[in-house]
């Protein structure tokens, strides 16, 4: 209990002081996670919709694989991205290892399957309902995918939020490819891991509380936007 009390105190102090270091860590964490979510949504939503609509040989295997990839171990992703970006790796020449971009790539790889798999289920359910009508209208596959993504947008926000949750809480992969370098690649989760290893549990818990608060704030903001949009539609 003492630890929790100290943690809350540390968290409040951290937020109130809002020192440059904390602002930098929070800003970098959000920038990396939100960029990864945005890119993963751009890739994952159409991918999920395509898997929901199109029938082709091997589709079922792809669906099972995509569902399985939702549980992709972050350290494995981190290791693979590390090997790809390391100097001896095929993309080593780009010099991305231990940069925020490498961390974004790792997070994107982790959450794209989550967004795509959840989107596939949402779109498939809607397609079951819409299929005959859209075919009757003469909608081609591209127009059908666009219509489904738009009409399912509120449900798909949940898929995107699930991706954000995974990205913001992720530590293994970003630690491997980012290296937790101070002022360069240090984010909330890697800072927490570092403080724990140093024995500063209060500060680690304080950072954890800030991280959870941020996550709740982002989810609340999205919920409010979604709610307002739905209400406007009902008005």
């Amino acid at each position: 209990m003492t630890d929790f009390g100290a943690a809350f105190q540390a968290a409040i102090t951290l937020v109130l002081d809002w020192e440059g270091d904390l602002a930098e860590i929070v800003s970098l964490s959000l920038r990396i996670s939100l960029t990864a979510v945005a890119v993963a949504a751009v890739v994952g939503l159409p991918l999920g919709a395509a898997l929901a609509l199109f029938r082709f040989p091997g589709r079922k295997i792809l669906v099972v694989l995509l569902n399985a990839l939702m549980g992709l171990p972050p350290v494995v992703v981190g290791l693979v991205v590390y090997l790809m970006l390391s100097r001896a790796g095929p993309l080593g020449v780009l010099g991305l290892l231990f940069t925020p971009l490498a961390m974004t790539i790792a997070q994107m790889i982790l959450i794209t399957p989550i967004i795509a798999a959840l989107a596939r289920q949402v779109i498939e359910d809607l397609w079951d309902e819409y299929a005959e009508q859209l075919q009757s209208f003469g909608a081609g596959p591209g127009r059908a995918v666009t219509a489904l993504l738009w009409d399912a947008r509120f449900s798909l926000l949940t898929a995107v939020l699930a991706g954000f949750g995974r990205a913001s809480a992720e530590v293994g992969a970003v630690m491997i490819v980012g290296g937790n370098i101070d002022h360069v690649t240090r984010v909330m989760t890697t800072s927490i891991a570092l403080e724990v290893s140093k024995g500063d549990l209060a500060l680690a818990l304080g950072l954890g509380i800030v991280l959870v608060t941020l996550s709740v704030a982002v989810n609340a903001a999205v919920y409010l936007v979604k709610d307002a949009a739905q209400k406007r539609q009902l008005a």
Partner: protein, 269 residues
């Protein structure tokens, strides 16, 4: 608009001819060697007991299902026809279909109509004008900005009809559009169907309601267990149908006969 689109726009798709069409599912023939021709600008009502294949027939004609054998021919062109004669999609663009359970997109009433028109390549101004026109004709103008899904069942079916009407189809397929509606809503929908028909659209509609068939039909097709047993002008069908089963159906005795036959397979009308 491309030359091809212009050509498609002015093109007549009737007559519709079915030649020995077979459709099966689970190894069972649900439509059996069906042949007929639809032309002119009449209203054809397809009647028959449950399981006769009425809805399947409409889907085959509209191109939502492909026959396992036989041909569906629009204006002398087999579906999936030769290059230059127009594709399935080009033919379907001159048709519309309203389903028994209306599919309401998760949009406003007006956006539901607008979406269908957008697929036909109409400009924003044309879409807006046509949307307002059909919503006004169907009594939904006051609901234009409401989400389509909060409408009542009757209003949703009106919207489905309005959406189809906005497309100005040459042929409109209606699959039991009033099946789950009360008499007032049924009457309102029949008035809309009559108005669409008056603008020159060929109506092909299924129904269980013989009273409705009498009110709307110029021509009746009677289906039983996947076969077309009779196709005749409405007046003749309701006064002196040629087929024995059609006679029993018109008298409301077909169900009794079927039950008796199930008990005693030797019995035949």
């Amino acid at each position: 608009m491309s030359d091809r689109s212009k050509a498609d726009k002015g093109r007549a798709i009737l007559p519709l001819e079915l030649r020995d069409v077979v459709f099966q599912a689970g190894g069972k023939k649900l439509i059996k060697d069906m042949s007929f021709t639809l032309s002119g600008d009449r209203t054809t009502i397809v009647v028959g007991p449950n399981g006769a294949g009425k809805s399947l027939l409409l889907r085959l004609c509209h191109g939502l299902l492909a026959p396992h054998a036989g041909q569906v021919i629009w204006h002398g062109t087999t579906r999936g026809g030769q290059p230059g004669n127009g594709s399935d999609l080009a033919v379907r663009r001159h048709q519309a279909m309203v389903f028994q359970r209306p599919v309401m997109m998760r949009r406003s009433v007006a956006a539901n109509v607008d979406y269908a028109l957008g697929l036909r390549g109409l400009s924003r101004a044309e879409r807006k004008a046509r949307t307002e026109e059909v919503l006004s004709h169907t009594g939904l103008a006051g609901r234009a900005r409401m989400p389509a899904r909060v409408l009542s069942g009757g209003e949703q079916q009106k919207l489905a009809l309005a959406r189809a009407w906005a497309l100005r189809p040459q042929v409109l397929f209606l699959d039991e559009p009033t099946a789950s509606l009360d008499p007032a809503a049924t009457h309102a929908l029949e008035a809309i169907i009559t108005a669409i028909r008056a603008q020159g659209t060929r109506i092909v509609m299924t129904t269980h309601d013989l009273g409705q068939a009498r009110r709307l039909a110029d021509e009746v097709m009677f289906l039983h267990r996947g076969r077309l047993l009779e196709m005749s002008p409405a007046e003749r069908f309701f006064t002196e149908p040629a087929n024995d089963l059609a006679q029993m159906f018109v008298r409301g005795e077909l169900l009794w006969w079927r039950r008796r036959k199930e008990r005693d397979p030797r019995h035949d009308p």
